[in-house]
Amino acid sequence: MELKQLLGAHWDRATAVVLVLLGAVAIVLGWWGISGTGLAPEQNPYLISGGVLGIALIGIGCTVWLSADLQDEWRRLDAVEERLAQLADRPAAAGRSAR
């Protein structure tokens, strides 16, 4: 249950981890395919589908993770802005009550 809640709250980071793992699996599968044949024409498709696609998936995963960090920072700035508005309103309110 806790894991489900954690995944629900951090779905973007969970997606990032899944993408990075998929990329790593693609690279390992590509290596496995390449090592199974000694002919370059048979190895090249594995190089693309394993190596290049794996790197692409890892890159997307890292981007998703960094996007989640940026979103968190954006939400924290929301909270700071709200507190700042309260702080700026306080002296004005005190001044009003004195009149």
């Binding site: 693309i48 290049v52 890159g59 996007s67 700035l77 929301d78 802005e81 700026a88 005190a94």
Partner: protein, 140 residues
């Protein structure tokens, strides 16, 4: 009041990233499809180059996405810092006001912020539950 976006990215950023991701991944898949369709290494070189270009397109789109987010967060942080610099000035005006009540920590009386008995002393705002100062709050 100014409407604040919920995310650090605009729709144009999302559109650019989507098209570069689809285009990049599509180019990689086309490269793989082309390379696996021929048995000669010399014919595969071009398809492999296409796959590498696809990854570069994808990476460029991702970098633009992250830069746009970083720029938006940085710009908003700078705006907040500007506003933060303006807040103490308002607080100082308030501290010199007769309406503000203060107390010296550990003492039993509350004072006006302008009371000479607290001038130069470290004070805290509040103290409504303390006894009023006979000098500055007499009769209030």
């Amino acid at each position: 009041m100014e409407e604040r976006p919920q995310l650090p990215w605009s729709l144009a950023d999302a559109r650019t990233t989507f098209f570069t991701a689809v285009g990049g991944l599509g180019t990689v898949l086309i490269g793989w499809w082309g390379a696996s369709g021929t048995g000669r290494a010399s014919h595969q070189t071009g398809w492999m180059a296409a796959a590498v270009v696809g990854v570069l397109i994808l990476g460029m789109g991702n970098a633009l996405w992250l830069l746009a987010g970083r720029r938006a967060v940085g710009s908003r942080r700078a705006q907040l810092l500007d506003r933060l610099e303006a807040v103490p000035a308002e607080a100082e005006v308030d501290a010199s006001s007769d309406a503000t009540l203060v107390a010296v920590p550990g003492t039993a009386r509350r004072h006006r912020a302008t009371c000479p008995l607290v001038r130069g002393k470290r004070t805290v705002a509040g103290g409504e539950d303390l006894r009023p100062c006979e000098m500055c709050l007499a009769g209030s």
